[in-house]
């Protein structure tokens, strides 16, 4: 991590990019914290896989993408949806299982999607969405468009066939795909050193003849700069690449309180939290006089208001009608 402002690559970026990265991360953080509270309060059904801690990855990558660039996401997908520009009202409404939700209450937390902003869905099957991104890239390339596709997945997903088949296919067909691995160190509850012998997921890229890079996933600027380069490369027709972002999730695999299984130490959690991506960026921005603390605080308070309104919208929204249960099983 860069600490001296003199050398900070952040300073080469226009301030707007930094405001944008900061805002995207704050929106994710608050969306998730509030979702956690709602779950704790028993106001939401189902599972909740919180993205808190990993914000720099979604924010950094999405800030390099256009609206027509397609992303696919995971069971831990709220961060990607928020960062891609999803409407928080429809997201909460989906978490509540309401008719106004992104999936009309048919999908839930693990399936938020919005094709109009290039969000080709979160996916409940580990690795399941990766081939869809390759297909989106194929469609774009077939139609002569210069959009790219970015599948997000975790370290655990790089052990599943869908990842390997997709990586090889994208490479062989030379498709504009940036594979983004969010390595948070755990496949559910199993630490990385017990689920693969490699230290770096990025090394897997070599098997498919594509570049693999590692970036600090707690540094939004670093993620942004790496993604900017690799996305441009894919857009220029130079084929796919794999970007591994080393990051950490603050909450448990699922839920807020966790199962009280001591698979991580408090010390480990605290060490990562000391490097919190949002706090770190704020310090850098203030130190570099790109923003004042007051300006940054306003982003938090504005977002809190937006989120309160979104939750109110979701809460007041109607439930789906059981008479429409079969809607969209088939296209008719």
């Amino acid at each position: 991590m860069t600490t001296t402002t003199e050398q900070d690559p952040m300073l080469a970026l226009p301030p707007e990019v930094l405001y944008d990265l900061h805002r995207r991360m704050v929106r994710i953080r608050l969306f998730e914290e509030e979702a956690g509270k709602l779950m704790e309060a028993g106001r939401m059904p189902g599972f909740l896989h919180l993205y808190v801690g990993q914000e720099a990855v979604a924010a950094g990558v999405m800030a390099t993408l256009r609206r027509d660039d397609v992303v696919t996401s995971t069971h831990r997908g709220h961060g990607h949806a928020v960062a891609k520009g999803a409407d928080l009202r429809y997201m909460y409404a989906e978490l509540f299982g309401k008719q106004t939700g992104y999936c009309k209450g048919r999908g839930g937390s693990m399936h938020i999607n919005d094709l109009s902003i290039g969000m080709l869905g979160a996916n409940g099957i580990v690795g399941g969405g990766i081939p869809h991104a390759v297909g989106a890239a194929l469609a774009a390339s077939y139609k002569g468009q210069d959009s790219v596709a970015v599948p997000f997945f975790g370290d655990g997903a790089t052990n599943i066939g869908a990842f390997h088949e997709s990586a090889n296919l994208a490479a062989v067909l030379r498709l504009p795909v940036l594979f983004v691995c969010e390595n948070n160190g755990y496949a559910e509850f199993t630490p990385q050193d017990r689920h693969m012998l490699l230290k770096d997921v990025a090394d897997r890229a070599a098997s498919y003849g594509m570049p693999g890079e590692i970036v600090d996933g707690m540094d939004a600027v670093a993620v942004y700069l790496a993604a900017l380069r690799l996305v441009a490369r894919a857009r220029d027709g130079e084929g796919p690449a794999l970007l591994e972002a080393k990051t950490y999730r603050y909450y448990d695999h699922q839920g807020v309180k966790g199962l009280r299984i001591p698979y991580r130490t408090q010390e480990e959690i605290d060490t990562w939290k000391e490097r919190d991506a949002i706090t770190a960026l704020e310090q850098r921005m203030v130190n570099a006089k790109v923003a004042t603390s007051e300006e940054l605080e306003k982003v938090w308070s504005d977002t809190r208001e937006e989120i309160a309104a979104a939750i109110e919208f979701a809460d007041q929204s109607p439930d789906p009608d059981p008479a429409d249960l079969l809607d969209n099983v088939y296209t008719v």
Partner: protein, 328 residues
Amino acid sequence: MREITYVKAFTESLMQLMAEDENIVIIGEDVAHYGGVFHAFDGLWKTYGEKRVIDTPISEMGFIGMGVGAAARGLRPVCDLMFFDFIGVALDQLYNQAAKLKYMFGGDVTVPLTLTTAGGAGLSAGPQHSQSLEAWLAHVPGLKVALPSSPHDVKGLMVAAVRDDNPTVVVLNKRMLGTKGPVPEELYEIPFGQANTVRPGRDVTVIAVGRMVTEAVTAATELAKSGIEAEVIDVRTVQPLDSRTILESVRRTNRALVVHEAVTFGGIGAEISSQIQEEAFDYLDAPVLRLGAPFSPVPFSPVLERAYIPDSNRISDWVRRLLERSGG
């Protein structure tokens, strides 16, 4: 009408469909340069080029999943799974992804994907290249599944499948690839969910799936010599299933036999039989019978395989049994 083979009817449907709709692409192993292991894709690559006929690595999950993503973004992919038996390595992309995206994304996404594959026994292809697994797929909401029983139906069902905005699966029968029959030269659709009464009859309804239609017709011709008139219904698609045609027939004949190549236990015959007893119980003069394969993998030895697959002789025997049991 001119006659062409079952496999040529398949190729012709794609050749004409691709001329009609430039969003159709073909994706699969050896489908381009080689033309497919059954030559089902012969000439397509030469006509439409590498951009539209795409050879892939041996990665069924990957390329079917790629088809799902491409379909969601406006293409109309036809993905080819060389043998139906290989579905296991790719199934997630079919039943959890293609079948569910529309529903679980609130209708925001459509997946006009067609999966073509070759199933069925009778070529000594052994336990992993001979299966009939249509009941698995028919069980999944969101999928549509066809098993064409003639060259004419191959073309008509392929046209309907590829033009459909839902994920569809067309299961060719390997043993019928060289079978010739009349096929119109122009494009025509056979709608999914519309069974075909291949042969009318008054004494018994034989509901057949895929290649068993041919065997059932042979059996019916033989039975007619003894004065038994069997009505033969080709279901054409197992999802959706044309229950109306089946029930209407059984209410007239009062007896029903379901025949398929798949193992009897849990096969589509169980569903059909159950629907008949639920909806037409009072019309039945005998229990509904099911004739399928025994509960075993498909054997390799020609002797064993012949014993395994239902044929016209067995169908005739079962029809006679059905009539003997009849009270009315």
